[in-house]
């Protein structure tokens, strides 16, 4: 059971950063995952008073505050209109509306969960994270970092560039509202395909593949699927995941090219 002795709702990011440098402090997001852990902390640091629960849209980008909820990105008109509804698609299977009103984007991205639909979705876009101390860096680079206890930076917001890419998302779940068995997001810009696969069951990764030299989307999709490693857990075997990835990536590519999606 999660335990804490003190709670501070900070007035500034500087105050939060200073507090969380202590080993016994922790910045909390929606608490959905954390409350199930056996962690004991002296101080929990709450960013909810800093106005970071907003999604801003400018001409160049979307700026998603770390305390925005999954429900906010699910229902945000601008985000979903620009990226073909993938934010609705990647969130709507996550447990239920009540849970998605609690869980935060910051909590999901900072923790880099293997099962994260959100991380997979954002990896296929031109996405950056803004860290209080570390500045702005590509999400793909941030996601590669191991999650370490001594990493005491603060994820302030996620920035997604409006670079004109079209995207599609899908997952497979063994039962509705369960964790995904596999999560795939594919986006396309010009001749480049950006393919992100998560829940393999390890955390999402992205590969970029160009159209050149491939006879069919099936071949392209197989190539992309083979770029990842897959593991086995109670939800499925690595072989099954690899097979699914190849099929789902192809279907998403077909959808993005306006072709009718073929089964099999």
């Amino acid at each position: 059971m999660f335990r804490a002795e003190d709670y501070v709702k900070v007035d500034s990011l500087a105050e939060a950063y200073e507090l969380c440098q202590k080993r016994s402090s922790l910045v909390v997001g929606g608490m959905v995952w954390l409350k199930m852990t056996n962690v004991t902390k002296r101080t929990i640091v709450d960013l909810s008073g800093l106005g970071l629960d907003q999604i801003e849209e400018t001409g160049e980008e979307f700026r998603i505050g770390c305390m925005s909820t999954l429900r906010q990105i699910e229902t945000h008109q601008g985000l979903n209109q620009y990226f073909g509804g993938i934010f609705r698609e990647c969130t709507r299977h996550i447990v239920g509306v009540q849970m998605r009103n609690c869980a935060t984007v910051g909590g999901s991205i900072y923790s880099r969960f293997g099962f994260s639909d959100i991380l997979t979705c954002m990896m296929a876009l031109d996405t950056y994270v803004e860290l209080y101390h570390g500045g702005i860096m590509p999400l793909s680079e941030f996601a590669k970092r191991p999650v370490r206890r001594d990493d005491k930076d603060i994820l302030v917001r996620v920035i997604i560039k409006k670079d004109g890419r079209k995207a599609a998302y899908t997952t497979q779940r063994n039962s509705s509202t369960d964790f995904p068995l596999l999560a795939c997001c594919v986006s396309r810009r010009g001749g480049n395909w950006y393919v992100a696969v998560g829940a393999r069951p390890s955390k999402a990764q992205v590969v970029t593949i160009t159209d050149d030299g491939y006879d069919s989307l099936a071949q392209l999709a197989r190539e992309a699927a083979d770029s990842f490693t897959y593991g086995t857990n109670t939800r499925g075997s690595s072989r099954y995941r690899r097979q699914l990835a190849s099929v789902y990536i192809r279907r998403l590519m077909e959808r993005l090219t306006g072709r009718s999606v073929t089964i099999g």
């Binding site: 804490a4 409350k35 909810s48 447990v95 009540q98 849970m99 009103n101």
Partner: protein, 156 residues
């Protein structure tokens, strides 16, 4: 820590520890409709409204409701009774353990969605697990309830 908030329209003050969850606080304050179910944020049994939105009280720190509005089923007696009649008429309450959380979420859906179709209803209520009804009787109750509210305009 001392917090002040509105619980079902009434001002409440409470002294809470930093790791106390809202579920425990509202039960301590007499709102026994809010039940402890899975505690893994899956079942929807502990659903309350925070500033009008449905949230899981098992995943919400009590200190975070300071200055905000919390609504439990006790604060929605009239609406709950009205929908509860439809639930009973369709045999959707069964053991009744999940009913408070389910009713809270149905009422939240009614506020949030305009003329939802069946897929939208199923999706909105997917976070409310029921181990006895098989969901069909609940779905019929929601359909009857929305049909009545919307005249003949319900799409479920």
């Amino acid at each position: 820590m001392n917090i002040q908030f509105r619980l079902n329209g009434k001002n409440v003050q409470a002294d809470v520890k930093p790791d106390v969850i809202l579920l425990d606080l509202v039960r301590e304050l007499g709102c026994y409709s809010v039940k402890r179910g899975c505690e893994t944020a899956n079942c929807g049994l502990c659903t309350v409204w925070l500033d009008g939105k449905p949230v899981l009280s098992c995943s919400t720190l009590a200190v975070r409701v300071d200055g905000r509005h919390v609504t439990t089923l006790e604060g929605l007696q009239k609406e709950a009774e009205e929908f509860g009649m439809f639930l009973a008429a369709e045999g959707g309450e069964q053991c009744g353990f999940c009913s408070p959380g389910f009713i809270m979420n149905v009422l939240a859906m009614e506020k949030e969605l305009d003329h939802p179709d069946e897929d939208e209803v199923r999706e909105y209520l997917s976070g409310n697990l029921c181990r006895c009804s098989g969901y069909m009787s609940q779905l019929r109750a929601v359909k009857q309830y929305l049909d009545r509210k919307n005249g003949v305009g319900g799409n479920v």
